[in-house]
């Protein structure tokens, strides 16, 4: 307190103009950065409401147009975009549900039980993060082919269902919030081990489950490379793949493409608007606390 009082007395007299000048530069930088981050979203809406010819004309459009309806209609003509949206939603939801279940179950075990090789096994879980996905690109495709999973949503949501990151996150949270006395009391009352997880740990971990769920949903929704490898039919394609393929197609209708992009991005923006705090916490948890 004394230090603070002293410093407020000293600094303003010592260098008032320099501080505000620095702040001004700071605000300018922050504003420029924000403009840079937000402009593409605005442009996406601009392009989604203009025809392809307008998008590629001089001067380039910078205000909203009126062709959104036509663009959407044309999009639905060239690709089964409703199906693609449903595929993405289905895969993202199942992926989220599976991730939440397997990660919280394992995180619960690592947090609340004493067992032989616990730390070694946990290190093993974290070590799996070191294997980069590109190493098994081809074998993964061959496996999916051998399992008959090509063009099946299963191929996109099941393999990544138990993520090391998720287990880490859930272990941290459950370990620091769930009192073991609570589990002991429930055991005395005759609760099964799975019951301890299902009836006690799970309901008490909602904040962490929310964060992990959002992270998994966003990751699954945006997964492009995975879909590129296993989905070869335009009816089983996800939104991202449908857009990617449409761009590569001869005679791309850019207006339709941006109408589709907007549909692919808007659900995420809504999700973010509602849950930005939990989402940011979930995404940064591993890096900041680890």
């Amino acid at each position: 307190m004394a230090v603070k009082a002293l410093s407020t007395r000293v600094t303003p007299r010592a260098r008032p103009p320099r501080v505000s000048g620095g702040l001004l530069v700071g605000y300018l930088l922050i504003a420029l950065g924000a403009l840079f981050c937000l402009a593409p979203f605005y442009l996406m809406l601009v392009y989604a409401t203009h025809s392809a010819a307008e998008i590629y004309s001089v001067p380039t459009p910078v205000g909203l147009g009126s062709a959104l309806g036509e663009n959407l209609a044309h999009l639905l003509e060239v690709v089964p975009f409703g199906r693609n949206l449903w595929n993405s939603l289905y895969i993202a939801l199942l992926s989220t549900a599976a991730t939440l279940f397997f990660c919280s179950l394992a995180g619960f075990a690592f947090a609340m039980y004493e067992f032989r090789f616990r730390e070694l096994l946990f290190s093993g879980v974290l070590a799996t993060l070191l294997i980069p996905g590109f190493l098994n690109l081809v074998p993964f495709y061959l496996m999916m082919n051998a399992f008959g999973w090509l063009n099946k949503p299963l191929a996109l949501w099941l393999p990544g269902a138990a993520s090391a990151f998720g287990i880490f996150l859930m272990r941290q949270y459950i370990g620091s919030t769930l009192p073991s006395a609570l589990l002991e009391a429930a055991r005395i009352d005759g609760c099964t081990e799975f019951g301890l997880y299902w009836k006690i740990a799970l309901p008490l971990s909602k904040p962490a489950l929310g964060a992990l769920g959002l992270v998994s949903f966003v990751g699954a929704w945006n997964n492009f490379q995975g879909a590129l490898i296993v989905m070869q039919d335009k009816n089983t394609a996800t939104v991202q793949l449908a857009l990617g393929n449409l761009k590569g197609a001869y005679n791309t209708d850019w207006g339709a493409l941006f109408a589709g992009s907007a549909l692919a991005v808007i659900p995420l923006l809504v999700l973010f608007a509602v849950f930005s705090k939990q989402l940011i916490e979930g995404l940064t948890a591993g890096s900041v606390k680890g």
Binding site: A34, F115, L135, P159
Partner: protein
């Protein structure tokens, strides 16, 4: 501890004690099963594959052992691989530029914003959760040679007095000209990850005790000096992390270059990365063995760079007792 005390009584163990002993293994087993099937097995198989001559169009029985041929071909017989590797490294260097930018922005937010801090960081964070495909499509239009917004901006800047000469008068074929395609890709990557890095640095900065700044102000330290002598040293562990993430991410860069210039890297392969080339080799050229060898070479490269990063930033972080 627990099992040591339980062990002598094992024969008399009740069913509930046994359940308690076995439950954790059961609960963690799905992870290991998934990992073994969907990651470990394919990884080992890819190692095996990297020593085989095999085209995906022929059956698995057609696989022939070819020793180090795939590695030899990739490293000494394939100019595209070296191009892709060079491009990836250049993109990686551009990628590192994100760190000073993110540091400055995080520091500006820390110093200048209190009430709107959460809102502003959320806005900065938005690109990170956006689909790379949608973003790459937007930038494709922004970059277009004759009608793109970027060239339109440059024409405006060019018409300014005095500084106008610094800017080209539009007409840059950002994605078509081999000289500009890498900065163009790098800008999209920067856009996506800037906010994420700002957020990581900011979260670390917020954990630095205010006393340190107060004491420095008392000694007459300027804002710049506070950044240099308080913030930056405390951030070394976080820099180690963000640089690691940048290296790992950049070396595997796929979505952005693939959407912007395609699987063969555009004109003169100037936008080809190792990851897009690996994909193209495997799925377009059908040469699975060479693609697998390429993957292992890339993996070795990432390990080498990570070790280097560990030497530069990791050691400093540890020296400060983090």
């Amino acid at each position: 501890m627990t099992h040591a005390t339980l062990r002598p009584a094992r024969r008399a163990e009740s069913s509930s004690t046994r359940a308690r002993r076995l439950a954790p293994y059961l609960f963690i087993s799905p992870f290991f099963v998934f990992f073994a099937v969907f990651a470990l097995f394919p990884t080992l198989f890819s190692f095996y594959l990297s020593f085989q001559k095999w085209r995906q169009t022929s059956g698995l029985g057609e696989m022939k052992f070819s020793g180090l041929e795939n590695y030899r071909f990739t490293l000494f017989g394939d100019p595209w691989f070296w191009k892709a590797l060079g491009n990836t490294l250049i993109l990686g260097v551009y990628g590192l530029l994100i760190q000073p930018l993110a540091l400055i922005l995080a520091f500006a937010i820390l110093m200048g914003l209190k009430r709107f801090r959460a809102l502003v960081t959320a806005l900065y964070f938005l690109p990170y959760i956006t689909s790379t495909v949608a973003v790459a499509l937007i930038f494709t239009v922004v970059y277009s040679k004759n009608t793109g917004l970027l060239n339109a901006l440059l024409i405006t800047l060019h018409s300014l007095p005095l500084v106008g000469g610094l800017f080209p008068n539009g007409g840059v074929d950002w994605l078509g000209d081999p000289n500009t395609v890498k900065p163009a890709i790098a800008l999209v990557v920067l856009w996506r990850y800037l906010g994420w890095n700002v957020l990581l640095h900011l979260s670390r900065m917020q954990a630095i005790p205010q006393d340190l700044y107060d004491a420095a102000k008392l000694d007459g330290a300027s804002t710049g000096q506070q950044f240099r002598f308080i913030t930056l040293p405390q951030l070394m562990p976080m820099l180690f992390l963000t640089v690691s993430l940048t290296i790992i991410g950049q070396m595997q860069l796929f979505d952005e270059p693939y959407i912007l210039v395609g699987g063969e890297g555009g004109r003169a392969q100037a936008g080809l990365t190792v990851a897009t080339y690996l994909y193209t080799t495997a799925f377009k050229f059908g040469d699975a063995g060479t693609a697998a060898a390429m993957g292992w070479i890339l993996f070795a490269g990432i390990l080498a760079l990570s070790t280097l990063n560990n030497k530069v930033f990791g050691a400093q972080g540890r020296a400060r007792g983090e």
